[in-house]
Amino acid sequence: MKDIAAARDSRGAPPLRRFHQARWDEPIIFELSAPGERGVLVPLAEAGVRRAVGDVVGSLPASLRRKTPPALPEISQNRVLRHYVRLSQENLGADLNIDVGQGTCTMKYSPKVNDQLARLPQIAELHPLQDQDTVQGILEIMYRFEGFLRAISGMDAFSLQPGAGSAAIYANASIIRAYHASRGEADRRREIITTIFSHPSNAACAKTAGFDIVTLHPDEDGYPDLKALKAAVSERTAGLMITNPEDTGIFNPRIREFVDAVHQVGGLCAYDQANANGILGVTRARDAGFDLCHFNLHKTFSTPHGCGGPAGAAIGVTRELARFLPVPAVTFDGKRYRLDYDRPDSIGKIRPWYGVAPVILRAYAWVMSLGAEGLREVSRVAVLNNNYLLKKMLEIRGVRAPYAKGRRRIEQVRYSWEDLCRETGVHTEDIGLRAADYGVHYWMSHHPWIVREPCTLEPTESYSKADLDEYAAILRHVAEEARTDPERVRTSPHNSAVHRVDTRGLDDPAEWAMTWRAYRRKSARSSESHGGEKT
C-alpha cells in the first residue's frame, strides 16, 4: 500500500491544507420559483369551522384586504432545503474552521449538547405568559445563572433581559441616567467617558441614551491614558464605560485609579466585559470598584453566534443600583420562583419578556459543565493559547504587535501588518482574504484604525496547539507569498464561494439594492439604457 501520508508532509513542515470552499454559484431564491410548486402546506380550517363562519376574508372591509398576492417564489420543499444547505456550505462557521481570527468575538466551541437541550419542547414550546407555576424550571435556571454571575463578577444583582452586548451597554447607560436623575443631577451629568479601544457601542449606545461622549486615546504604550482621564473628569461626568483588557488584549493595570477618578467626581463606572474570557476567576468587576458590568453570553459563555444573533447579555450592578434594573426580576422565596414587577424605579423594559431563554439555558449548562476550577482553566488556557500564538505570529517577518512592548497579552492581540505592507504593497484585507483560501479568516479592527493594517486574533481555550500551529503557518505562508507573488494575494480569494466583489455601487443611491425587487428595477433600467449590457 502506498504511503499516502508521506506525500502530504512536505519538507517536514505541516502541510498547508488544499482547501476549496463549496462554490455552488447558487441563484437568488426568486430565480428558483416554478408556479404551482408548494414548500409546505398549512393546516386549513375544518369544514365545521368554515360552515360556522363563512367567508371571513370576504367579510373584511375591502380597504383591508390584500389586492395582489405577495410576489414570493413558489418552490417545493426539498428545493428550498437544498438551496439553503448549499448556502450554509458557503459559510465558514466556527464548527468547521480554526476560528481564532475573529478577535473580540470569542469564537469558542459551542457545545452541541447545549444546543440539543435548548431545542427540547420544555423550553422551545413555552409561552412567556404561562402561569408561573408551569415554568418553574426555566425560572430556576435563570435565577441560578444570575447567581453564577454574581460569584464570577462580585456584583450584587443581575438582569438577563438584554438581547446582546450592545443592548446591555445601552441598558447600563440608561441606568446611569436614571441614577443621576434620581439625585436631581440629570441635567448636569451629560458626559460619558470611554476609550478608543473599547467597543464602539460603548460610545454609540451612551450617545443614544442621551450623553455626550468623551473618547480617550491611548498613551504611547497603548494603555488608556490616566492623565487624559483625570483631565476629562468633571462635575459633568455621568460615568465611565470601558473595556479591560481592551481590544488590543492589553490589561490596564491602573484600572482602579480610573474608577477612583470617576468616583471622585460622583460618576459611575460601567465595565464592558466582552473581553472577560481571559480573566474568569482572576480579577472581578467588583474588586476594581465598578458599579455596573455586562457579559456577552455568546462570547465568554459559549452560546453560538448565529451569524449575528440570537444572543444574550447579562447586566450586573451594585446593591445601590439594583432598583433601576429592567423588570421583571426573577426572585425566589425558598419555595417558588417568581417574576417580580414591583420595581417602581426600574428603567422599564428593554425588550419583550425576560431575556433570550434558550441562550441563557446554554450558558447555564456551560458553567455547570465546567465549575469554578473549569472556568479558571478556560481563562488560563485562553491566555496561554493567545501568548503562544503571539510568539508564532512574531516569528513572521512583517508582523508587529504594537504597544506594551515585551509584555504579555491577555486573551487577544491586535497585530499590525504595516511593515509587510510597506515592503510589498499588500494590505491586511488582502492577507485575510488569501487566508480564506486555506479555510480560515480574520477580523481586522473596529474603526478608526488606530493600529495600521490591523488584524485582531483571539484563540480562546477551544483550539489545540496543532490548530494554532496550522493557523500561524497559513499566515506565515501568505506573508511570504506577499513578497513572492503579491498579485496572487491582492486578487484573492481564489478558493472561496465568490470572487472579488465590486463594492462601488454600495454607497450610491442610484445603484444600491437591498432587495431583489430593487435590484431588478435598477438593473432593468441600466439594461435598457446600455442596450442590454449591465453596468
Binding site: 414570493l72 450554509s88 460610545a203 444573533g309 473549569g374 482553566e377 463594492t503 432587495t515
Partner: protein, 465 residues
C-alpha cells in the same frame, strides 16, 4: 488542583498536561501565573468562585438540565390560547433544519467571501420581506419588534427634524415602556386613545393631539388588542397633513390576506419576525424588522446593517456587501445612527426560509385559516351567557378580547379553572388596561384545531357557570 490528578475537559484541548508544558516552555513562562503579570495583586481575586460542582460528563449534564426542564409544562402539554406578542404557529421542519446547521449557527462576522452564504441568506430574507411588505428596503434584523418600533420613531424624528411622537394606546404596555425609555433622550411621547366601542385608533383623539412638533404617528395593525384598523389610510393622511411620518407596526403572518401598510401610506413599517418560523422559546424567538422605501433620506437613518447585492470580478456571479456602511456605529462610533450590534440574524435567515416555503399561496392559506378559526372561537364563546366575545366591534384577525365582566367571576378565577382542565386561557388584560377589567386577550392561530377550540368553549362554559 494539580494537573496530574485532573481530567482534561473536552472543551479545553491544551489543558492536557504535556502540551500545556510544551507551550509554556515555548512562551518562556514557568507557569500560567507568569502570563498574568500585568494584573496587579490588588486586583487579583484569590478566593474561589462560588459555583456548583461541575457535571463534566455530558450524560450527567443532560440529566441535570432535563431534570430542571421537566419542571416546566409546555404548550405541548397544555392547550394554550396565549398570544400578546408571542405566537404559537406551525414551524416547518425545514426552518429548524436550516437554523441548526452548524455552518450558520456558529458563524459570526466573516467577510462576504468566506461567509457568502450568510450574506446571500440575509439578502434573500430582506427581499422576501420586501415582497410581503411591498417595500424596497428591509434591514438586517434588530433584536425584536420593541426595538424596531423604538428605533423607527427615532428615525422618523431625525428624518423630519421634530421632537414629538404620538403612539396609540392600543399598543402593548411593555412595548410602550421600551419606547418611552428609548425616546427619553430625544423625544417626547404622547399617547392617543382608541375608540372604546370599536377598539380602533381614535382619529379625533389623534387630530386633537397632532401638531407642528409631531415627527411621527405610530399605530399597529392589528393592534395589541387584536383589532384591525379600518381607518388606517386616514390616519396616515392625518400624519402627513401635519408634516409627520406614518409608522405602522404589523404582524407579518397577517400579510397574506391583509394589505401591507405601504398600501395605506405607511412611511416606515416595523414588527417582529417570531411568527415566521420561530418557536416561542419563552420569549427567545424574537427579531425586529424595519422597512422603508428606497429613498436615501430614509436609508441613511437606519442604524442596522443593510446588505446590498453587487457584481463580482466574474461575470454573472452574485456578490454582496454592506450598503452605506459609514452610517453605522461600526464605522463611526457615536457619530453613527444609534448603534448596531449582534441581534437576531439567524432568525432573519429562518424567516426567509419560512417565506420561501410558504410562498404566496401558503401565506394566503395561513391568513384564511387563522381568520376562520379565531372567528369560530369568538362566535362560539359569544354564545355562552354573560360572555362577550369579541368585546370590540372592530374587525379582528387572530386575537380578540373576551369580556367576562358580566359573569361575576374574575379573569384570574376563570383561568385557574381553565388550567385545571389543561388549558391556558388568554392574557388577563386587567393589570395593563384599567378600562378593560374582567377582559382577556385570546389568540387562535392555524395551529389550533376545531377540537381545540371546542374544548376551550366547553371549559369556559363550565368555568363561568
Amino acid at each position: 488542583m494539580r494537573n496530574d490528578h485532573r481530567t482534561v475537559h473536552p472543551y479545553i484541548p491544551n489543558s492536557a498536561p504535556a502540551v500545556k508544558e510544551a507551550m509554556l516552555r515555548e512562551v518562556g513562562a514557568r507557569s500560567e501565573e507568569d502570563l498574568y503579570e500585568d494584573v496587579p495583586e490588588a486586583l487579583r481575586f484569590r478566593g474561589s468562585l462560588e459555583l456548583p460542582e461541575p457535571l463534566a460528563s455530558e450524560h450527567l449534564l443532560r440529566r441535570h438540565v432535563e431534570g430542571l426542564l421537566s419542571k416546566n409544562r409546555s404548550c405541548k402539554d397544555i392547550l394554550s390560547f396565549l398570544g400578546a406578542g408571542c405566537y404559537p404557529h406551525a414551524v416547518p421542519a425545514v426552518c429548524d433544519e436550516v437554523n441548526s446547521r452548524g455552518e450558520f449557527l456558529t458563524a459570526y462576522a466573516g467577510e462576504p467571501y468566506d461567509d457568502h452564504g450568510r450574506f446571500q441568506a440575509l439578502f434573500e430574507y430582506a427581499s422576501l420581506m420586501g415582497e410581503l411588505l411591498d417595500m424596497d428596503v428591509v434591514n438586517v434584523p434588530t433584536y425584536d419588534g420593541f426595538q424596531a418600533a423604538a428605533t423607527a420613531l427615532r428615525m422618523a424624528a431625525r428624518i423630519v427634524g421634530r421632537r414629538e411622537v404620538l403612539v396609540s394606546r392600543a399598543v402593548s404596555p411593555d412595548k410602550l415602556s421600551k419606547i418611552r425609555d428609548y425616546a427619553k433622550p430625544r423625544l417626547s411621547v404622547r399617547v392617543f386613545d382608541f375608540d372604546p366601542a370599536t377598539g380602533e385608533p381614535d382619529r379625533d383623539s389623534l387630530e386633537e393631539m397632532i401638531g407642528k412638533e409631531t415627527a411621527a404617528v405610530y399605530f399597529e395593525n392589528p393592534s395589541y388588542l387584536g383589532v384591525l384598523a379600518t381607518q388606517s389610510a386616514r390616519i396616515s393622511d392625518v400624519a402627513h397633513d401635519a408634516g409627520a411620518l406614518s409608522v405602522v407596526g404589523v404582524d407579518p403572518s397577517t400579510l397574506g390576506v391583509i394589505t401591507p401598510p405601504a398600501d395605506y401610506g405607511a412611511d416606515i413599517v416595523v414588527g417582529d419576525l417570531q411568527p415566521l418560523g420561530m418557536h416561542m422559546q419563552f420569549g427567545g424567538g424574537h427579531a425586529g424588522f424595519i422597512a422603508t422605501r428606497d429613498d436615501p433620506k430614509f436609508v441613511m437613518e437606519y442604524p442596522s446593517r443593510l446588505f446590498g447585492i453587487a457584481p463580482t470580478s466574474v461575470e454573472g456571479e452574485y456578490g454582496f456587501g454592506d450598503v452605506a456602511y459609514e452610517r453605522t456605529s461600526f464605522a463611526v462610533r457615536e457619530a453613527g445612527k444609534e448603534w448596531v450590534g449582534t441581534a437576531a440574524a439567524l432568525w432573519g435567515i429562518t424567516a426567509g426560509v419560512y417565506l420561501a416555503l410558504m410562498g404566496p399561496h401558503g401565506m394566503r392559506e395561513l391568513g384564511e385559516s387563522m381568520l376562520a378559526k379565531s372567528h369560530y372561537a369568538a362566535r362560539r364563546l359569544s354564545r355562552i351567557p354573560r360572555v362577550r366575545a369579541p368585546r370590540f366591534r372592530g374587525p379582528f384577525f387572530h386575537e380578540f378580547v373576551v369580556d367576562y365582566s358580566r359573569t361575576g367571576k374574575s379573569v384570574a378565577r376563570i383561568h385557574r379553572a381553565l388550567l385545571r382542565n389543561g388549558i391556558f386561557g388568554g392574557t388577563d388584560l386587567s393589570r395593563e388596561f384599567p378600562d378593560l377589567k374582567g377582559c382577556a386577550l385570546y389568540c387562535v392561530t392555524e395551529a389550533h384545531s376545531q377540537e381545540d377550540i371546542d374544548r376551550l368553549v366547553d371549559a369556559v362554559r363550565e368555568a363561568v357557570a
